[in-house]
């Protein structure tokens, strides 16, 4: 019966499609341009990073910026600009903002608190929690909580990991040495080098799963 209803509706649509005159939109019309300035910039960031900066999974992963310490955000924007952190998409973005805009943007992102993006695979959260809270002493992996905080909220130049997207965590930890800290040893990103060197892919996935669900 459903199918019959559907067919009638479809035939109506079909009839109007085949008889319709050309209906193309008027190309001469002008579009409203978004306002310029800081508010427009913030909205621009959220087209990729998600409406409340909770992150977004496009072809590439856009990390969560919500709740990230402002100092960390500013550091990363500068690192993209100076090519100490390699990423073509964000290098372009950073060239479109002046460093004088960094603090206001960072503060705005930092104040947001949406729920985690979610979508991580499940099954290894217990191992992830163990690594996060206590590290893996036998493998020389320090407890992440020692720096990132027991609640994974970070502080100052140390990032928040709570609610960070699973795929972004895995990718970032797997590619650390080729993307981060390209400015040499004095770069703060080098702090993470020993940690990433000693984690196996499975352990990275576990810790990513665990933190991605934290609020």
């Amino acid at each position: 019966m459903r199918a019959a209803h559907w067919r009638v509706a479809l035939q109506a649509a079909l009839a109007s499609f085949l008889t319709a005159a050309t209906l193309s939109a008027d190309a001469g019309e002008k579009y409203v341009h978004a306002a310029r300035g800081a508010e427009a910039k913030f909205e621009y960031c959220t087209t990729c990073h998600g409406p409340s900066a909770q992150g977004f999974r496009g072809f590439y992963v856009m990390p969560r910026l919500a709740g990230q310490p402002a100092q960390y955000i500013e550091n990363q924007l500068l690192a993209f600009l100076q090519q100490r952190r390699r990423n073509p998409v964000m290098a372009n973005v950073a060239h479109g903002i002046t460093p004088s805009m960094f603090p206001a943007l960072a503060k705005r992102m930092s104040a947001l608190n949406p729920p985690p993006f979610g979508g991580a695979p499940s099954g290894e959260a217990a191992l992830g929690r163990e690594i996060f809270a206590h590290g893996l002493p036998d493998q020389n992996v320090p407890a992440c909580s020692a720096c990132h905080g027991p609640d994974a909220k970070g502080q100052r130049e140390i990032p928040r990991l709570a609610g960070q997207l699973y795929w972004y965590m895995v990718q970032t930890l797997s590619l650390w040495n080729s993307e981060r800290g390209q400015g040499g040893r004095e770069d703060i990103s080098w702090i993470m080098r020993p940690t990433v060197a000693n984690l196996t892919p499975k352990q990275i996935q576990a810790v990513a799963e665990y933190v991605s669900a934290l609020r």
Binding site: A13, S24, G58
Partner: protein, 203 residues
């Protein structure tokens, strides 16, 4: 089992199998009247061949629930999706997404260079994001993010104009992205994309 009984059971089985297949074929044919029998698009109806399955499913739901409400969607797709059950919608999406897409190549070739630049890098000073960040470096799409490569110039242009002019505001982030584009930039992007073929890695 008597022979007649066996015959009946075979017949029932055949009917059980043939029933749904027949219904699906009919559904595909009905879509094909507008979208072309090989799903390559026809007139105002866009190409469905090679479009991402999850994207098709989402759009069919958006038409059926009247969330996607741009003029031509209301006019044609609301009826086409009225009473379309989720199971059939999923099968149609399976079918169309598996067909090999062809590039329409109906854009203006003079505008391809400009369009490619916006697609790959965005225009940071004008708050236009790089399209490739979400749609992929070859405009191939992934999961629920649509393939844009090779869609028709007219469709792409109309869709971006619809968003820019405030129609179909149900989703994020496209309405805001399109609102930052000028008519010239829209024409450039639509032209470039209409010439993009399916990447060699995907064939």
């Amino acid at each position: 089992m008597s022979r007649i009984l066996r015959k009946i059971s075979v017949l029932t089985l055949a009917l059980l199998i043939a029933g749904p297949i027949w219904a699906d074929e009919l559904a595909i044919r009905n879509c094909g009247w507008c979208h072309g029998m090989s799903g390559q698009g026809y007139s105002k109806a866009p190409r469905l061949a090679g479009q991402r399955r999850d994207y098709i499913v989402n759009q069919l739901r958006a038409f059926a629930t009247h969330q996607r409400d741009e003029t031509l969607g209301v006019k044609y797709m609301w009826n086409a999706t009225a009473n379309l059950d989720p199971l059939t919608a999923g099968k149609l999406a399976d079918y169309f997404s598996a067909l090999p897409p062809e590039a329409m190549k109906d854009g203006e070739s003079d505008l391809v260079v400009d369009g490619r630049a916006i697609f790959e890098n965005g225009v940071p000073d004008e708050n236009i994001p790089a399209c490739q960040a979400c749609h992929g470096p070859q405009a191939q799409g992934v999961r629920a993010l649509p393939r844009l490569g090779g869609l028709s110039f007219l469709y792409l242009k109309r869709r971006l104009e619809d968003w820019a002019q405030g129609r179909d505001l149900s989703g994020t982030p496209m309405p805001r992205i399109a609102a930052a584009l000028s008519p010239t930039q829209i024409a450039a992007l639509a032209s470039f994309l209409s010439f993009v073929e399916v990447g060699a890695s995907e064939r």
